[in-house]
């Protein structure tokens, strides 16, 4: 009995020690990850998969592009705005984390824009990949900075996108597009910076391996 009880107690003690050490490790990890940070919605333990930060936002961008391209007659001769929705992904994805899937998905979005908006094939692919590549190179300077730094960086990325688009248009057609129209679309795309903030807020620190 004693031996058995002792054996039982020993096993319980071991298990208890193991549980305690696991809990301690989790607590340390949680402290390291979430200390001095606002609680994340994804901090409940749910795993963030590629579909969460890559696929679903890409599909939402396609839907938004479709909706704003609908030919709805508006009063006073107004038109629906036509921002480049995938631009927010080209800027946010490299900041969230480097990924092998993201460039291919972004290229797919570029091809979608080429087909849907009637651009020469490869036009929007090049513009989006340029933004993605540059942002990936300088991501360490942007991640963790204040909101206004991210906003300014996004503005520069938008400028890069449309400058490259203008140059490619000149190469393609030999004609400089009307710069006022370029500025208008640039402004509409720049307003999407709030979606960039939302994406970064939601997914930037969701996976501690890439901090």
């Amino acid at each position: 009995m004693l031996q058995g009880r002792h054996r039982q107690n020993t096993t319980r003690t071991r298990r208890g020690n193991q549980n305690a050490s696991r809990a301690l490790r989790r607590a340390r990890l949680a402290k390291a990850v979430f200390d001095k940070r606002a609680p994340r919605r994804t901090s409940g333990g749910r795993t963030i998969g590629p579909q969460d930060w890559l696929l679903y936002p890409a599909l939402l961008c396609i839907v938004a592009t479709f909706v704003l391209a609908t030919d709805i007659p508006l009063p006073f001769g107004w038109d629906l705005p036509e921002p480049v929705w995938p631009m927010i992904l080209a800027f946010s994805w490299p900041l969230i984390r480097p990924s092998y899937i993201a460039p291919f998905l972004l290229a797919g979005l570029g091809f979608f824009l080429d087909y849907f908006w009637g651009a020469p094939i490869g036009f929007y692919v090049l513009c989006l990949m340029a933004v993605y590549g540059v942002t990936l190179l300088i991501r360490s300077y942007i991640v963790g900075q204040d909101l206004w730094v991210v906003t300014v960086a996004y503005g520069l990325a938008v400028f890069l996108f449309f400058a490259l688009g203008t140059i490619l248009t000149v190469i393609d057609t030999g004609m400089v597009p009307r710069l006022i129209s370029v500025f208008e679309q640039m402004l509409a795309t720049g307003v999407l910076v709030f979606f960039v903030h939302a994406l970064l807020e939601r997914y930037l620190h969701a996976d501690v391996r890439f901090n």
């Binding site: 490790r25 340390r28 990890l29 390291a32 990850v33 479709f66 909706v67 391209a69 609908t70 030919d71 709805i72 007659p73 508006l74 001769g77 038109d79 036509e82 490299p94 480097p98 990924s99 092998y100 993201a102 460039p103 291919f104 972004l106 290229a107 087909y115 849907f116 908006w117 009637g118 651009a119 020469p120 094939i121 490869g122 036009f123 692919v125 090049l126 990949m129 340029a130 590549g133 990936l136 190179l137 203008t166 490619l168 248009t169 393609d172 057609t173 030999g174 004609m175 400089v176 597009p177 009307r178 006022i180 129209s181 370029v182 208008e184 679309q185 501690v208 391996r209 890439f210 901090n211």
Partner: protein, 377 residues
Amino acid sequence: MSYGDNQPFENLKLPLTWGVMIIVAGVCVVGALMFLGDKRGGLDAASYGNRGGFDGVAAKSNNLLSTPAHVVGDGANWLDDYFFAADENRILKKKVAELEKYRDSYIQARELNRRYEVLLNLRTEPAVDTVTARSVSVSRGPFNNNRLIDAGASKKIKFGNPVINEHGLVGRVVGVSPDVSRVLMVTDVVSRIPVMVARSDARAMMVGDGGGFPRLEFVRGGKDVLKKGDQILTSGDGGIFPRGLPVGEARRGVDGVWRVDLYTNRAPIDMVKVLKFEDFSQLPRADEVLRTPLVTDVLPPPPPVNITGIGSSASASSAAPGFTPVNNGASSSSAASSQQTPVTRPKPRPVNNAASSSSASNPPPPAETSASASSGG
């Protein structure tokens, strides 16, 4: 930063970043090659022809989205008509009274114009069939301006067909799938349309630049050929667009460049008409188009000539309008030959000979006497 247990993942960081950069570079190279291979400068049927399947799906999706908006808009219009019917009726009655004055003069002018055309033997444009369609999707950015309309090859729409609406020229068809067509707007950066100034008949090229006001370039003529407010029409040069489609009015931009204030900017583009006008191939054969036919080729055979009556018929020709001068002129021009041969019948002239001899001073066409024809047969 290191997180104890997660330290092994640090080894993934460098290769992952560089691997992604290599993928980005590879995608850029592929995109650049595709971009260089898909230049739109020489716009042809192959430029947008490979997107028919995509356009079909996209247009259906956009049609689903736009249908509720159109239903709501139509309902609002119906309500508007219902409540303001009395006012509108009063205005319309006034307009009808004004327009009735112009109706008679229009009919008179049209008949006179028809007579002149016959008199001058003008080759008028053939009547063009139209297909009505609704714009379901639009791309209005600075780099691309085009639309998808819900009519395609099943309604015999072809590449190059001009598209208009109730205000003026919208663009032309550049891609066709069974039920959907892609229309390149006149404002697109690749759009080039030969136009003319209605007042001075000066020619110019309207060049789209992605904005709402295309530029007028290569304006030919003097300094005063273009003034603010001049109406701009398609000139028909090049054979892509028929002549005379209304485009807009001339305006000078803040940069000093002449631009066209498009008529289609006056209201949203909703319903459009596709003209089934293709090019010059719709017109008669080139060898017939490029030469002015001889008068003797287009005239009916003259009646038996009475030599003493020639002078009186020639004097009557100056007073008689319509067809009469043509017939009398023909009899006077062929008088010399008819004096030698009592009964003449003009013979259709071969094209090569006809192109070289087009003036009345040339020798008369070879005539065939009825006597010799009967002896030969």
